[in-house]
């Protein structure tokens, strides 16, 4: 027969100071874990939301990042004639030649300056990414104008509409803020290809070309034909896949967070064990009485284990609540693939919180197993005689 759980609950309430202190300790451990998972989840969401399923990023063979790649305009002209390309409303082929460069601007997090990607593109490129203008207007052809992503506007005091940003051969006016959904494009600065290309002496080459296939069936064919065309010397990669590969930029921080959570959990387990041993010691007489009433050693073991799990569960829930406010906070992380910052929002997901609760329960099991074992092993007579 099992001992009612209400018995454990009441016991936790009676020793409320100890319960709270132990649970808060476990809660802080869980909060670190949940926050770490929220970072990874946020980064993953941002990269998952980046890229269109029918689009390919075309780079020079052997390049794994747009920044290292060069594609000649000659190759672009050949590529543009490809029949499997989708066309927009103006009947133009959906192929956007783009040049990437980097600027260094002071951000809220690092006043010394962080690198940002500047993407020089045509109007077709803007259209292919489905970005919308949020504030101000798009850059105009023939003007030294740029627009910034919404995450950039949020975190870089110098990249605001109306301000001037210095790179290349002079100054550029920020004329608008764009919203590219949840994608990592929100962390970029966009401007016109001809204008920016001229500043960097890149009139006959671009970094990469973004193309869209007419439909899913022709996507593979388009990819193969681009990869096999020796005149081009390029490699086409699905846009989704290209961005998903960059999710690993968060790995150092992720591993660091996990390590911290695990070390903290060891400390919390010891603390929980201490609390449970004290609970067993204080209730020796009760344990004896329960045994006299006919509860088995197994029930006693289970009861104390449940009590420890309840204690950990309170901690776990508290930890999740503690981590919840970071949901939606925008942060940035450097990518060694682009040598610039990727902006994303923390996301406290249900699965992250579940992982936190499970983590807390593991701490509870480790902390409760030995004390519960010692409670179950107590001999009835000695237990009753203890004060």
């Amino acid at each position: 027969m099992a001992i009612p759980i209400a018995y454990n609950l009441r016991n936790l309430v009676v020793r409320k100071t100890t319960t709270v202190m132990t649970a808060v300790g476990i809660g802080l451990t869980v909060a670190v874990l949940v926050a770490d998972l929220a970072l990874v989840e946020g980064l993953r969401t941002a990269f998952k939301a980046t890229g269109h399923p029918l689009q390919l990023v075309v780079m020079r063979k052997g390049s794994n990042a747009e920044l290292n790649s060069t594609v000649t305009l000659e190759a672009f002209q050949i590529l543009k004639a490809e029949p499997r390309l989708a066309v927009n409303e103006a009947r133009e082929p959906m192929a956007s030649p783009e040049t990437l460069t980097i600027v260094n601007l002071p951000s809220v997090d690092s006043p010394a300056g962080m690198n940002l990607t500047v993407r020089a593109m045509s109007q077709v490129g803007v259209e292919m990414r489905g970005a919308k203008i949020k504030q101000g207007r798009w850059f105009q052809s023939g003007q030294r104008e740029i627009v910034v992503g919404k995450s950039v506007a949020k975190r870089y005091p110098n990249a605001q509409p109306g301000k001037l940003v210095r790179f290349g051969r002079g100054e550029w006016e920020v004329v608008g803020v764009f919203d590219a959904g949840e994608s990592t494009f929100n962390g970029e600065i966009w401007g016109e290809l001809n204008q920016i290309g001229a500043d960097f002496n890149r009139q006959d080459t671009v970094s990469s070309v973004l193309v869209r296939a007419t439909d899913a069936a022709s996507l593979q064919g388009l990819k193969n034909s681009l990869n096999d065309d020796r005149r081009l010397g390029v490699e086409a990669m699905p846009e989704r896949e290209y961005y998903e590969l960059q999710t690993s930029s968060g790995a150092p921080l992720q591993i660091f967070g996990l390590l911290v959570a695990v070390i903290m959990a060891v400390g919390s387990s010891f603390a929980a064990m201490n609390t449970m041993y004290a609970a067993v010691a204080r209730r020796a007489k009760e344990i004896g009485t329960l045994r006299v009433l006919g509860f088995s050693r197994g029930s006693i073991l289970l009861s104390f284990l449940i009590e420890s799990l309840l204690l950990a569960l309170i901690g776990g829930v508290f930890g999740c609540l503690l981590a919840l406010p970071i949901n939606g906070v925008t942060t940035g992380i450097g990518s060694f693939a682009t040598f610039s910052e990727i902006a994303f929002d923390f996301r406290v997901s249900p699965s992250g919180m579940l992982a936190g609760i499970i983590f807390a329960l593991v701490v509870g099991v480790i902390g409760g197993l030995f004390p519960a074992g010692s409670a179950a092993r107590k001999e009835i007579l000695t237990a009753l005689r203890e004060i």
Binding site: T17, T18, M21, T22, V24, G25, L28, T29, A31, V32, L39, R60, G62, S63, N64, A65, L67, N68, T101, I102, V103, N104, D109, S110, A112, M114, N115, F167, R169, G250, P252, L253, F256, G257, V260, I263, M264, V266, G267, S268, F270, A271, M273, N274, T275, Y277, A278, R282, T331, G332, I333, G334, S335, F336, F339, S340, I387
Partner: protein
Amino acid sequence: MNVINCLPLITKNSFRNRRRSALTIGSLMVSLCLLVLLMAMYKVLFYGGEQTPAQAVRILMRHKVSLAQPLPLAYEGKIRQVPGVKAVSLRQWFGGTYRDARDTRNFFPRFGARPRDLFIAYPEYEIPEEQKQAFERERTGCVASKHLAEKFGWQPGERITLVGDIFPITLELKLVGIFDEPNKFDILFFNWDYLRDSLKAAGTFDLDFTSQYLVLADSPDNVSRVVKTIDDMFDNSPFPTKTESELAFVLSFVGFLGNLKLFLLAIGGAVTFTILLVSANTLSMSVRERIREVGVLKTLGFTPGTIFGILLGEGAMIAIIGGALGCAMAQGFCVMLRNAPIPIQQLKAMNVTPLIFAISLLIALLVGLISAMVPAAGAARRPILDSLRHTG
């Protein structure tokens, strides 16, 4: 009776419940170890490790906007004329892949450098004289740090193929020397001329630029002046520069890891708070069990002040032991890190410095005292009769 005379009593009381003391010390040890590691990491990442005399005069110069943008070779002559500059060398980042890029173990920094002045720029690299000469002689020669060579089991004569990505060429290198790098960094240098010739042969472009210049100042005092002179000189050119000491250069990469400063501070705060809770919990449990005993002590003539002191002392003792063990454990981790294959090489310089040791013991002491405050005050204030009557 004063508290110091009660030291044997404090020691005895601290360990009367051995299991509880062990668990508490264990918990404090693990948490403080983490706190010490966080402090050591903070120091290395935001203030840098110990600077060697060679590092103190070494200056790195790159394009103001980013490492990916080049600087013209013509700058070298101009830099040489800056007063306070002793020597100038250069290195060109060559990304590329070695074996399989998907395995991060195959990544290590590789640079094109000039064999004749590489070891002038890096006097701390120790290399046998004949290997150094072989590097100057052989066009396709390369040299690797000892730690890197050991990682891959390379011996001199090893063929190393690097497939370029920034540069559309493949380099077929031969390892001609292994140098001792004091920080155990992974790094490889090959002949800059070979890179230039290969690019010419491939008909792509002439390598008339470099990604970084290495400038040596004649004394550490001149570094900041040299840095400023160089940056001012090129500020209005099409290739503005960012010049900084090697230490500052290394630290500038920390921003890439995200807002680590806030992370470290937040986690450090959480850990400290956890320690406080664990310690307070233990002490209040221990005091609760001894209410009668405290009453007996009072009848024997112990003043409330002494009893307060004894209980604070117990808290401090347990916390200090936990703190000292935590520091020892953290130092063990630091030693392990030195030989571990970690991507952020700066972390190899992590160390429990005397200052960090002192700070963590102080934190432990404060935690012990603060956590004992409430239960100790309660026990000290409780009337004798009340205490003696207490059961439980």
